[in-house]
Amino acid sequence: MKRTIALGAALGLFFVLPLALLLTRAFGVDWIAIWTASDNLRALQGTLITSLGAALFALTLALPIALLVTRTALPGRGLVRGLFTLPAALPPFILGMGWVSLANPKAGLLNLALGSGTFDIYGSIGISFVLGIAGLPLVFLPTVAALSRIDSSLEEAARISGAGPVRTLLTVSVPLAAPAALSGASLCFLFAASAFGVPYLLGVTATPPTPTLTTRIYAEILMGAEGLSRAVVLSLELLVIAAIVLLASRALSARGAVRLASGKGISIRPIELGRARWPLTITVFALAIALVVLPLLAVALTSVQPVWGQLSGLSTKHWSAVLANPRTIDATLRSLALATAAATLVTTFGLAIAQTKKRSLELLSTAPYAIPGTVLALALVVAFSRDVRFVFLDRIAFVFAVANTLSMLLIAYTVKHLAFGARNAADALAQVDTSLTEAARLSGASPMRAFFDATLPQLRGPLLAAFVVTFLTCVTELTLSVLLLPTGRDVLGTLLFELQSYADPGSAAVIACAFVLLVIVLQLTQAVATRKAAR
């Protein structure tokens, strides 16, 4: 109980209070005027169009591919599944950089190959496209999960009734997975509406510029005190959109849950593709390579191009420059330290929250993840822009001096990603075999001892997964970092942002490459570790 109160208080201080203060900031401001200012209306339009575009693009791509990998005997379907899940492990900004390298109207590799101006990645279509790819796993994974819970006899009953394979998929499999797919698509919409890095990269310098709410909020914050209240009102607008979309997604996935059985005893006999087999396989692999692998290769190529936009030999000059630059080393060390600390905090607090088994606390801990990063950062700025004093009994005083410090960023990282820890720990705890812990107790272990000896070993895999995913997300986190980092200090995210936006795509590509390598190494290590644990 004491623990529940302490955890609740911490979440209250670092999440609920800042959001509440953000709300109070909006009092007395003429929001109608701000919401309807023409710049802001265009930003709202930009947000809605790019988010809808991203969600629709992800849905149209994810649904057929999910059908192919779950319901049919597509050759290499395991690999296809992995390739389309890959964007989940990559920062959207790096995908965006990849597409800039490919489809910048003048300097992009595709345009160099096919003639200048063939593709233009800037503007709302480009933003939708890149965010659609980055958000694809949000649609793809739940759709695959829903489709995997359909017993083949449901499809076979349709075949016997007289429906051909295509009609069977359309009238049985798709409707059954539709709630999950639509709920995923609305999450993708939310993801795109919250995104900051990609719209900034591809929208601000587009002709004409394509503003979104997040980039408007950033611009207002840069203006200082006067812009802050406008930023607050705009972030509330974003929050309203997020709330609506989240409710829609919840309602949809609840509807789907009624329809699909639990996974037990499901048997799936993959549908043979017949003559369509090879054309479909080639199409799917070509898509996966074009959408996900190609931009990463483009980033790699950019990192060894001596002059951006010219195919004139290869050179390691960016690599040596970046690796020797004290700023890079400084930022890397800082990012690694922050990410390690955040991942540790997320995992420990997530486990503590899950152990209280308090539904309300769990919900509260997952809420920050749904709040757009810009809004969360702004709320923290508003709450802690001055040192906060707590005085108890006139004597004991706490001073929170977190404004403009790295601790503020650490708090932001932790609060934002607490969901990873809490979710994973709750799922893992639900599957823990309590009889093992009870056996330890009966053998004479204290509750604490039994937890460490019997329960914790069973949680290791999921907790490690939470740690790794938090670590990877934080190492190149962009939105919170750009808004909260004290001036004069860098983390990898801000460095990437600055290099790519202003001067030096080659150097940015080096950092991006290093990060992608880190992702691959960590994911592989984790996969190996979990496999070992499972054995």
Binding site: A157, I160, S161, G162, G164, R167, V258
Partner: protein, 345 residues
């Protein structure tokens, strides 16, 4: 209504041969049960008839049409069959009415005809009042009735049923068994019914094919299967007989070094073979019986089951009398049996 003919049908999954040369002929309007233990290939055989699997060798005809064979693969949707699955396979996103109407809508039947025929089919399975319910609001027995109505609504050439009752509890199973029999009498549809439950097979079908490891051991009427099993396997599976390996000579049968007096009908058999003795076909406590150690005594309600040791084998004897008296050993006399001479291969 149509006839179904299989000629030496083979099927393997990878290296495991699942169906090894099955031939059978079912006349139009007939009711065939495929009976056998788990894994013997019943479902696979049924799925090949449905077109959900294709034969590796052999042919399948429905009426005179070749539906599966070398170079011919008619897909399931073109075979005009109905099928009921063990897992119901009622579409959870469609109402009862829409589930049952689906096969008709695919055949381009007009809206009003669909309504009429769906109502009729729901009447057959006594579900007319549930037409607008969603499947999540139905019990298992009702779901299986929906599946039966859906399989029958378009007047299939053959109705295939794969253990349709095995997910239901005892009482419902008997109720639905009766309904299937009644529907069949009423509609006269050709039916093939897969089950591992011998009572179900014997009660419902007019032909029973007993399957073992991918082959049909015996295909006969239920009475013949029960009264004149063709192989020790059929006797063991259908009658629940004790199978004794041994030698017959001079009116006795010796197994594990212990001799039994043979019943009058078998006095003349001689030589090595298998004696199949039903659990009910042994009299206990008779003076001319063979004394055997008693291992256990189980009360079954209407009767008692005794477990007797015959060497390393256990004999099951079911007897209505309560032979509580005997402890340690009981004498057993065989009252009826089948003798299968050992084949000389």
């Amino acid at each position: 209504m149509a006839s179904v003919t299989l000629s030496s049908v083979h099927k393997a999954y990878g290296d495991t041969k699942v169906v090894k040369g099955i031939s059978l002929e079912l006349k139009s309007g007939g009711f065939l049960a495929l009976l056998g233990p788990s894994g013997c290939g019943k479902t696979t055989t049924l799925r090949m008839i449905a077109g959900l699997e294709n034969v590796d060798a052999g042919t399948i005809h429905i009426d005179s049409q070749l539906v599966d064979g070398p170079n011919v693969r008619i897909p399931p949707e073109k075979r005009e069959l109905g099928m009921v699955f063990q897992s119901y396979a009622v579409w959870p996103h469609r109402s009862v009415k829409e589930n049952v109407g689906y096969p008709l809508s695919l055949r381009g039947v007009s809206k009003s005809d669909i309504d009429r025929r769906v109502k009729e089919a729901l009447d057959w399975v006594r579900l007319a009042a549930f037409a607008d319910r969603m499947p999540s609001q139905l019990s298992g027995g009702q779901l299986q009735r929906v599946a039966i109505a859906r399989a029958l609504v378009a007047q299939p050439k053959v109705l295939l049923l794969d253990e349709p009752l095995s997910n239901l509890d005892m009482a419902l199973r008997e109720e639905l068994r009766g309904e299937i029999a009644a529907l069949r009498a009423r509609l006269g549809t050709t039916m093939i019914f897969v089950t591992h439950d011998q009572h179900e097979a014997l009660a419902l079908a007019d032909h029973v094919a007993v399957m073992n490891k991918g082959v049909i051991e015996q295909l006969d009427s239920p009475r013949t299967i029960y009264e004149a099993p063709a192989t020790p396997y059929v006797a063991g599976f259908v009658g629940g007989s004790n199978l004794l390996e041994g030698t017959a000579a001079d009116g006795t049968f010796t197994s594990h070094g212990i001799s039994f007096v043979l019943p009058d009908s078998l006095k003349t058999v001689t030589g090595p073979g298998t004696l199949a003795v039903r659990a009910e076909a042994m009299a206990l406590g008779q003076p001319d019986g063979t004394p055997l150690p008693l291992l256990a005594r189980l009360f079954l309600g209407h009767s008692m089951e005794f477990r007797l040791a015959l060497g390393d084998q256990i004999l099951r004897v079911i007897n209505s009398a309560d032979e509580a008296a005997g402890t340690g050993t009981l004498t057993a006399r065989i009252t009826a049996a089948h003798f299968f001479p050992a084949s000389r291969t």
